[in-house]
Amino acid sequence: MRATVLVRPKAGILDPQGDAVRESLRHLGFAVGEARIGRVVDLEVQGGDPGQARAQVERMCEQLLANPLIESYEIELIDP
């Protein structure tokens, strides 16, 4: 089973990378209100049970993939 994890800076957390990208997009003429930059982690997880797979990926997020002080995460499971 495959899983995609989206890690984002939490609301209210300063995101200087996002700010710099927003300014660059404005330079290109795009009317952008806000840009926030996160991270995508694509995973291949063992086992076929979606509930177990999700629980496992959640533990991965809590322990390593995201820092709960500043980042939120979303998990998307993709059946083969």
Partner: protein, 237 residues
């Protein structure tokens, strides 16, 4: 040899990507310690270790988040055990990032608000003078110590920050107008609740001789050497 002359063992951990390990060892030796470089793959600290320093650099290429991978090094289990037993552990720059990611220090270090790498002397104020890191300095004393980092913006949520302020865990603060990275409440250095683990973004090991611009960093490292000496002179048993 008097007790004052005894050179206590201070372990300086070398991670893949550490680059201030030798400078830290040099500075500690100049201040009277027997500094020993310890490889990240070792699962023990040298016998008689009185203090541990996690040096600056870019451990594991700063992959995922700076400091996030180094906490899985075998040596970190020994460092965690040493800290849990009350041993003094100092994290400088990347070492600070590692201690935060390992959960040994509160907060997290993020990209500088300016997004620019900063490399310059900054003035910091000693908020609390006490062992094992700041007893050689006076409370309120200003120290000039260089920073060099791209991710030194310390952050803690407001409620956590308030707790740390009340508990006196904010030990070093950038002087007004000196904050080089946008850190919350101008925090340059924090300790854990017990006070035996500290992290700071400035590099005291680069400021131990006035010939290098400032000798102020020596006050922090010499405090640590004192603590290492005291710790290893305690009777065993």
């Amino acid at each position: 040899m008097t007790e004052r002359e005894r050179r206590p063992t201070v372990a300086v951990v070398v991670f893949p990507g550490s680059n201030d390990d030798r400078d830290a060892a040099w500075a500690l030796r100049a201040l009277g310690a027997d500094a020993v470089l310890v490889w990240h793959g070792d699962d023990e600290l040298p016998e008689g270790t009185g203090a541990v320093v996690l040096p600056g650099g870019f451990s594991y290429g700063d992959y995922l988040r700076c400091g996030a991978i180094a906490r899985f090094s075998p040596v970190m289990r020994a460092v965690e055990g040493f800290a849990a037993a009350g041993g003094p552990v100092l994290g400088i720059c990347n070492g600070f990032q590692i201690l935060c990611e390992a959960g040994l220090l509160p907060g997290v270090l993020r990209a500088n608000a300016s997004l620019s790498f900063v490399c310059r002397d900054v003035a910091v104020r000693v908020e609390h003078s006490r062992p094992p890191f700041t007893n050689r300095a006076e409370p309120g004393q200003q120290l000039v110590i260089p920073v060099k980092h791209g991710e030194g913006c310390w952050y803690a949520p407001p409620e956590l920050l308030a707790e740390l302020e009340t508990a006196g865990q904010i030990v070093l603060r950038y002087e007004p107008g000196e904050n080089p990275n946008g850190a919350a409440a101008d925090v340059a250095g924090v300790t854990n609740a017990y006070g035996n683990v500290m992290g700071l973004m400035p590099h005291p090991e680069h400021a131990v001789d006035p010939m290098l611009g400032s000798g102020d960093g020596a006050l922090i490292l010499a405090s640590l050497v004192d603590a290492a000496r005291d710790r290893t002179s305690m009777p065993v048993g």
